[in-house]
Amino acid sequence: MPQPMTISEKILARAAGKKYVAPGEMILARLDICLGNDITAPLAIKEFYAAGGKHVFDRKRVALVHDHFTPNKDIKSAQQTKLLREFAHEQKLKYYWDQGECGVEHVLLPEQGVVVPGDLIIGADSHTCTYGALGAFATGVGSTDLAAAMLTGQAWFRVPPCIKLIFRGKMPRDVTAKDLILLAIARLGVDGANYRVLEFAGPVISGLSMAGRFTMSNMAIEAGGKAGLVVPDAVTKQYSVGRAQRKPRYYVSDADAIYERVEEFDVSRLEPLVAKPHLPSNVEPVSRLKNIVLDQAVIGSCTNGRIEDLREAAKLLKGKRVSSRVRTIIFPATPTIWKQALKEGLMEIFTSAGCIISPPTCGPCLGGHMGVLAEGERAVATTNRNFVGRMGHTKSEVYLASPGVAAASAIKGRLAHPQEVRGSDWKKGVKK
C-alpha cells in the first residue's frame, strides 16, 4: 500500500526524487522556477558572483521581475533595476520583462504561464505563496536561498505539516475571496500557520475563480504559512490550457492524507471584512467600522490587482465620484490587465470618478512610492499588510479590505459596505 500524502507532500517528494516524504523531514529538492525582484535579487546576484557563479543552472528556470520600486523611484532604485537588467541580459534569462511588459510578479508569472500546476517554486518575496492557487508548492525565501538556487537549481526544505481549511455555505453578495482569507487569518492568528502549509478546500473554494483563489493563496503568509494550496480542478485546468509554458502536473491530496488539523468555516452569514491596524488578523465586519474616516484608497497589488478585482471596483464607481478627501489610486497588476481594463471601459469609469491610475507596480503597498501616507493619515487598501509604517509614516494606518469595500469607502470618504453606495436595497440587504 502506498503511503497517503497531501498535494504538498506529493510535490515535495517528486522534487526530492523520493516516493514519500513526511512532515519534519529535511529534503534537498530540485526547483522548477526560482524568482527574484528588484529588492531581493540585487543581494542574490552579488552573492551569486561572490560564490564564483558564472552561469545560472538553467536560463529557463530563473525569473527576474522588477516591480517594487519601478518605474524607478530614485537613483538608488534605478541602480538596483540596472543590476537586474544587466544580469538578465548577461545570463540570457528567458523570463525577464522590462517596462511596458513588466508587472507585479505574483500576478505576472501565473498570467504568462511561467508557473504551472505541480511546480516547486521558491521566490525571494514572501507572497510567492500566491502560486499555490494553481496547485503548485510555492514559498517565499530570502536572497541567499535565491542565490544558491540560481547556482544549483536546488533548495533545502523541512517538509511542513498541513492545516486543511474547509469553506462551506453560500457566499452572500459582496463577500469575496478576500473576506474568506481574512476570516481564516483572524481565526489562525498571524503565526497560526508558521512552519505549516495551508490547504484551502470545500465547495466554496471550488466555486471561486482563479482570481479569487490567487487572492486566498497570496495571503497564506499573513497567517505565517509556508504555502497555501488549492487542489487543481476544472477551473485550474481551464486556466492552464493554452497558457502554461511547461506541462502541468495535476496532483491531488489522497483521501486518507494526514493533516495536522482541519478547520471548518461556514460563510453563509459572513459580511465583508476589514483588517484593522496593525495586524492582518485584527479583523472586524465593515458594518462596525463606518466611523473610520479615510485619506486614501488603494485598489490593486498581488492580492487584488487582477481584472476581476478592477471590475468589482468599477461596478460601484460607475457614474459616481470618489470623496474629494480620499486620494483613490488604482494600480492594475500587469500591462495585460491594464489593457483589458482600458478595453472594457473601466479606465473611463475610474478617471471619471476621480481616481488616479498607476502603472503596474508594488509601490504603494509597501510604502515604496506612488501613494505614501503622511503622519496620522488612514488608507483602505486591497493589499495584504497593515503593519506599523507599512504604507508610509509610522503614525499612519492601513485598513485591509476587498476591492468592493475599498471602492465604496472611497466614494463615502469613510469605511463603507458596498451596499451603501448601491442605494435602495442597502437597508434590507444587511443582516446584523
Binding site: 520600486f69 530614485d74 530570502g142 541567499t144 498571524v190 503565526d191 508558521n194 505565517g224 515604496g368 506599523v388
Partner: protein, 164 residues
C-alpha cells in the same frame, strides 16, 4: 558557539517592515541598512547597539516580507544572536542562511529584561541570565543549521559542496 552580551527587548510580531522599513530597501549595502535597523520599532536602537549585543523578543519575530535585509541589518549592526519565543519561518531561514544564529526559547525570551547581560552556549543549548543567575535549556540548533552558521552561511556551504 558562545556569545555574551547586553540585551535589547522587543515584543510580539515584530515584522520586517519595522526591522528595516521599505523606504530603505532601495539599497542592499549592509552598512546603510544597519544605520536604520529597527527604526520603526525603536528609533534610537541603531544608535545604541554595540557589537556583541543580543536581541530578545516575543512571538513571531521577523514576520512579514522575505527581505533578507532584515537579518542582514541586525547582523551588520553587531547583533550576535537573537533569542525569541518564536520566529517567523522566512526570517528563521534567512538568519541561518547569512550565518546569524537565532534561538527559540520561550522561557528565556519572556523572563529576560532589557539591559541585562546574558550568556549563550549555542552548542550546549544553554542560556544564562548573568543578572538573575537563572539558566535555561534550549532545543539544540539542528546539525545542518549549525553547519551553516559555522561555515558563515548558505553560500559558503554551497561553495564547499560544489567544490567537493
Amino acid at each position: 558557539m558562545k556569545f555574551q552580551g547586553k540585551t535589547y527587548k522587543f515584543g510580539d510580531n515584530v515584522n520586517t517592515d519595522e526591522i528595516i522599513p521599505a523606504r530603505y530597501l532601495n539599497t542592499s549595502d549592509p552598512q546603510e541598512l544597519a544605520a536604520h535597523v529597527m527604526e520603526d520599532a525603536d528609533p534610537v536602537f541603531s544608535g545604541l547597539v554595540k557589537p556583541g549585543d543580543i536581541v530578545v523578543a516575543g512571538r513571531n519575530f521577523g514576520c512579514g516580507s522575505s527581505r533578507e535585509h532584515a537579518p542582514l541589518a541586525l547582523k551588520t549592526a553587531g547583533i550576535a544572536c537573537i533569542v525569541a519565543v518564536s520566529f517567523a519561518r522566512i526570517f528563521y531561514r534567512n538568519a541561518f542562511n547569512i550565518g546569524l544564529p537565532i534561538l527559540e526559547c520561550p522561557d528565556a525570551a519572556s523572563e529576560t529584561q532589557a539591559g541585562q547581560e546574558i550568556a549563550i552556549d549555542a552548542g550546549q543549548g544553554i542560556i544564562t541570565n548573568l543578572i538573575t543567575g537563572k539558566t535555561y535549556q534550549v532545543a539544540p540548533i539542528p546539525p545542518f543549521m549549525q553547519e551553516l552558521v559555522e561555515l558563515g552561511g548558505l553560500m559558503e556551504y554551497v561553495k564547499k559542496n560544489l567544490a567537493a
